[in-house]
Symmetry: C2
């Protein structure tokens, strides 16, 4: 099966102006509407009326329809899902596996995930602690809506992807942000004392993304243990986003709360097939939690979306069972891309970038460019390169830009050339 970039299907009306992701176009009319709709006066609930859009999503929409763009603004690469995963899902579809399935995922997949944790994490996580969801984002929504009431408090370590804060906002919970520190060498660190001091009596959840999108910072096992001890003592839940856990340049995986937690600790770990196995469009994620949570998480999942897809879950099983070589080859490409970016950014002079040991993101600042939205718009307009503006990751990340380097070396070099010309 020859893989190629998605093409416009001539059989579909208006195909000349529309194209699907990742090079997706919208009509001019849609673009005009974007501004008009901001002024929506419909009688929605107040939290929705006031809901802040993700500036990263806005930037993606700003770039759509423009010619010759290089897309490095989303958290995904330019390579399609590997054949062995696609083939497993296609076989399942052709076998007729397309009926309603269990709300928390196929027992096959839950068992495969349990085996995966044994193999890669050396942890005994029974399948009744694993809850498969319609996407990593859905996993986060379900986790938060299981825990958060109106007025509850979440203490979140930032910078953090705006969508997680948006999900909390939708629950009408309040977020207290704990900004990580970035030292003179560009190294990020978390001040645990500051994290603990920020927690109040209303704090229900500590939200930690490790490895961090966008900084690539990873919590150490010791830091996790300190957070867990604190959370236990205070009866606070931990929601841990471990979506980037396998995207590390040293070793097989980053530390996980599963390394230190007991089976009945109040922790919900959110994960996804998207990044590790190039399955972003597949919309499949999972939660690991206490076994006693199974019944209630199931009810929440049923009332949220009923169940995940059966045939994509067969693809996910293939990913778990046969995906390690693919992961290694991705990591090798990305490591080389990361080092290449570092060398080129250094030679450009104006860019402050410290590579991290995790994720496929370069998170950097450009001297004299404090308005990250203006910078990203200029790069879209003049360099035809889409990046994500730092303010999509919280106020303290304003002024940064995030580049996803999960692309071919050829495309990366072209992007770097274009950026250099504009800067």
């Amino acid at each position: 099966m020859k893989k190629k970039a998605p093409e416009v299907d001539k059989n579909i009306p208006n195909s000349s102006i529309y194209e699907d992701a990742p090079h997706l176009h919208v009509t001019d009319r849609a673009r005009e509407n974007m501004q008009a709709e901001k002024n929506c006066t419909l009688n929605f609930r107040p939290v929705v009326r006031d809901l802040a859009a993700n500036p990263g999503a806005d930037m993606i929409r700003y770039a759509r329809g423009k010619e010759n763009m290089i897309w490095m603004g989303q958290g995904e690469g330019d390579a399609p899902t590997p054949d062995f995963i696609v083939n497993a899902a296609v076989k399942a579809m052709q076998d007729g596996l397309m009926f309603y399935g269990p709300a928390l995922g196929s027992p096959y997949l839950r068992t495969a995930l349990s085996g995966y944790y044994q193999r890669i994490y050396d942890q005994d996580i029974g399948e009744h602690r694993i809850f498969v969801t319609q996407s990593g984002s859905t996993a986060m929504s379900i986790a938060l809506s299981t825990l958060l009431d109106k007025g509850d408090e979440v203490v979140a370590v930032t910078p953090i992807w705006k969508n997680l804060l948006g999900a909390i906002e939708l629950m009408q919970a309040n977020t207290l942000e704990v900004a990580m520190n970035c030292d003179q060498n560009g190294k990020w660190s978390l001040d645990l004392g500051k994290l603990f001091d920020t927690c109040t009596e209303n704090t229900r959840v500590i939200l930690l993304v490790s490895p961090s999108n966008p900084t690539g910072w990873c919590a150490s096992k010791e830091e996790m243990r300190a957070i867990l001890d604190f959370a236990r003592e205070r009866g606070i839940w931990i929601v841990a986003d471990e979506v980037y856990n396998r995207l590390v340049y040293d070793g097989l995986r980053a530390p996980s709360f599963l390394d230190i937690a007991k089976p009945d600790d109040q922790i919900l770990i959110v994960n996804s097939f998207s990044k590790t196995w190039a399955m972003t469009g597949w919309r499949l994620g999972w939660i690991v939690g206490p076994e006693t949570a199974e019944e209630k998480i199931r009810d929440v999942a049923i009332y949220n979306n009923l169940c995940p897809q059966p045939f994509t879950q067969r693809g996910a099983i293939a990913a778990l069972d046969q995906g390690e070589d693919f992961i290694k080859s991705q990591i090798n490409l990305w490591r080389s891309n990361r080092d290449l970016i570092k060398a080129r950014f250094d030679s450009m002079g104006r860019i402050q970038y410290t590579p991290s040991d995790s994720t496929f993101y370069a998170f950097f600042r450009v001297d004299g460019e404090d308005d990250c939205i203006a910078l990203c718009k200029r790069l879209v307009d003049e360099a035809q390169v889409l990046l994500s503006p730092g303010c999509a990751f919280g106020e303290d990340a304003r002024g940064y830009a995030r580049m996803c380097f999960a692309v071919s070396e050829e495309r990366l070099l072209e992007a770097l050339d274009r950026i250099e010309k504009v800067l």
Copy 2:
């Protein structure tokens, strides 16, 4: 491509004890846990701790793992999705269409849905009024979470599928149920005066499922107009579930709020590909709303689940473009099944069943069997036939049972024989 019932894949661990939907098994351990987990003492939010399970979902789980079951308890047939839909999705996957896509769906699919409304509904619904979602259930979640604050009131016409009430419960909104009347001939009707009298100053939403699951009752255009007039005057939103709109035995479709509403009326119409095109496991739905709602619904969707799948949307386009013959053939089978059930139930003597002109459900009572859960359990145990207990559709439906007759005539006859023996 020969279609067959899903089979156990021998390459997957534990395949002897597990099987995917619709004939899904769980381990004995899981079944034991079901009761234990009811007693979950985790510190979840109170609304989740108190969340009532769907007795229909519980019945499905009760039946899993039992031998030789005939599955008529879920809202889906026993035929897999037609080849032309599967092939379109498979082609999209093989073409690499598996990246993140737009949050409200591919412009292709939104345009195709717009064309579908022109063709089948003779209505001009622009693509910016059509919001594609990860499933019909997700469409309902998103619609409700766009509108409902804690303490808001929903007036819902019942009997109604428990999952819709569960979604409202999760929003911490209150449901006021307006029970439909069932006359001596088994004909259901809605007392509009009662509906309007139930609305209070706190009523934010009138929730109407038409055609109704489980009764098959359809609101007339005049009834819809009266509801719309009332809602306009009172500033109340209408959330209309029109998932069964094409499953009618007279004409092309049931009446729709789109027949009478203005483009900017405060109505969100929830729909799904599941029932009409045998795509239950595909998890794809949509909302029709005012164009000015687009931006905010997009934000809510992004924070809820990010985006729907790109490749399944290509299947959905094929369904819309080439699906009419398939729909006709399904309707013909189901009409014949419905009539066959009526004849057999009448001959059994104890069953009170009045066929409806819509949906693929027979909603009936058995004389002397007032405990619908006990009845359904007995039918699972003694007849190996799964039905859905009436109490899964609200208190006023207790004592009924719902049979989904979207199965082959052969399977239906076998099920009727088995039921007759037990009753």
